[in-house]
Amino acid sequence: MTKAENEITWKEINIGATVHEPGNASQYKTGDWRSNVPVVDFSKCIKCALCYIFCPEGCITKNDDGFFEIDMYYCKGCGICAEECPTDSIIMKEEKE
């Protein structure tokens, strides 16, 4: 999509509001939904990948050092990663901004 959704006028809507660009749901910023934010302490992390497996948003990826990082553009703050982490490396804090 060339324009951001909040700039599209009704005249620019495709016929039947169809979507012609595959996977454009990736533009949808689900990070806006968050009221609690997960904070990871890599010093306690054992790289077990449980957070990566359980995250329902699929927004956790492995970095070059083998640690798991959270993409805050998509993280909804559900807290599942913190709940599942066996070493309590992830804690949920109140979203400030």
């Binding site: 909040n6 009704w10 016929i15 509001a17 169809t18």
Partner: protein, 391 residues
């Protein structure tokens, strides 16, 4: 060679769908629509119509199957009535919002309970806001002609909206009437192949019926609303073209003996035929009455209605449905709303009659008109009057 044939209107409608060369028919049988889809099933089974016939398990599924077939660009037809239309209800919104040019005949039937298989307009009136083009036919010829026009309107790439063709259950669907069936070549010339601009195709993927967050939903709905309102000019164009080619002319609002009238009766569907007889005898008695018939229900023909009642003192609107607990018959309340801001407007009186298949005779129409004029002149504390109820 033009030759009238005596035909049951349901059968004539099915023959018109054959002339339109529909590709897919997905339907579930319900009285009084059955003869339409039974005859189509026969035409497909005998090979006279080269189409897919899907005898599906419910009306909800029928309309859902129509979405799929229309979305690949197939010319799609279905028919239903009463409860069947209501079971489809949620899918009707989807068909119009996805801009799928499905054509559906509705053999109008009362909605339960109590159970009634007979005709009135309570089924379609519960579907006013589903975003479909909605047309009412008055006799067998109008059903045939408008079925053919409906495909052309729906599939026009400036429109791309589903069309609902209403014909009164039994009073029209089961009548044997003289019908002039157009010839195949003439219909093929009039109705080009369906050229749906964005058919589902694995080589060019498109997603339909997607999620729309609040930031885009209003724009999507307004685009849909504009498509329905703007379809008006194409509807007129299709009727004009049909008139030129076939010699039968259709308008959103039609007039009968309105010249010099001070009171007009407004009807929809097959009641108009009987109403004309009543108008004739009242005219013979010197009463200045005329009839207007609302053929186009959606998009609502505001300008035609306002034009039709210019200089008229009283407008009596006859509905075949109750808007329970509401301001009057559905058509009457919309017409009142259409005139609210107008400076010169007639007194508008709302009548409800003909529920669940009850006949209104020519005498009955005369009584309605006489009482209507009385209410217009003296006023009434009721929102509307129901005709013929036993006290």
């Amino acid at each position: 060679m033009k030759q009238y044939v005596g035909m049951e209107v349901s059968v004539a409608l099915a023959e018109a769908v054959k002339l339109a060369n529909a590709d897919v028919i997905a339907a579930y049988p319900i009285t009084p629509q059955t003869h339409i889809i039974e005859h189509l099933a026969e035409l497909v089974a005998s090979g006279e119509l080269d189409a897919e016939y899907i005898p599906i398990e419910s009306e909800h599924s029928a309309m859902s199957a129509c979405l799929g077939s229309s979305a690949v660009g197939a010319r799609t037809f279905t028919a239903t009535a009463g409860q069947g239309l209501e079971l489809m209800h949620e899918v009707l919104f989807v068909a119009s919002a996805m801009r799928l040019p499905i054509v559906m005949a509705v053999a109008n039937r009362a909605v339960s309970s109590p159970l009634s298989v007979w005709g009135d307009h309570s089924d379609v009136m519960a579907c006013r806001d589903v975003g479909w083009i909605q047309i009412f036919a008055e006799n067998g010829q109008e059903v045939v002609d408008n079925a053919i026009c409906a495909f052309k309107m729906a599939e026009d790439n400036r429109v791309l909206l589903p069309v609902m063709l209403n014909l009164d259950g039994f009073h029209l669907s089961h009548m044997v009437e003289p019908v002039l069936m157009p010839e195949q070549k003439a219909v093929s010339d009039f109705l080009p192949l369906n050229n749906y601009p964005q058919p589902l195709n694995p080589d060019k993927p498109v997603a339909m019926g997607d999620f729309a967050p609040p930031v885009i939903f209003t724009e999507a709905k307004w685009a849909q609303e504009m498509s329905l309102r703007n379809s008006y000019s194409t509807i007129l164009e299709v009727w004009d073209q049909f008139g030129k080619q076939f010699g039968r002319h259709y308008r959103p609002v039609e007039h009968y003996r309105t010249e010099g009238a001070s009171t007009l009766l407004l009807t929809m569907g097959s009641f108009s035929e009987t109403a004309m007889t009543a108008i004739d005898s009242l005219r013979d008695e010197g009463c200045k009455v005329g009839l207007i018939r609302l053929r186009l229900w959606r998009p609502f023909p505001f300008s035609d209605i306002r034009e039709a009642v210019k200089g008229i003192s009283n407008l009596i609107v006859l509905d075949r449905a109750i808007s329970l607990g509401g301001p009057g018959g559905p058509a009457a309340s919309e017409i009142k709303a259409a005139f609210y801001g107008e400076e010169n407007k007639p007194k508008i009186v709302s009548f409800v009659a003909g529920l669940g298949g009850r006949d209104v005779t020519p005498k009955g129409f005369e009584e309605i008109i006489t009482r209507g004029i009385e209410i217009a002149e003296k006023g009434s504390s009721n929102e509307y009057e129901i005709y013929g109820v036993r006290e």
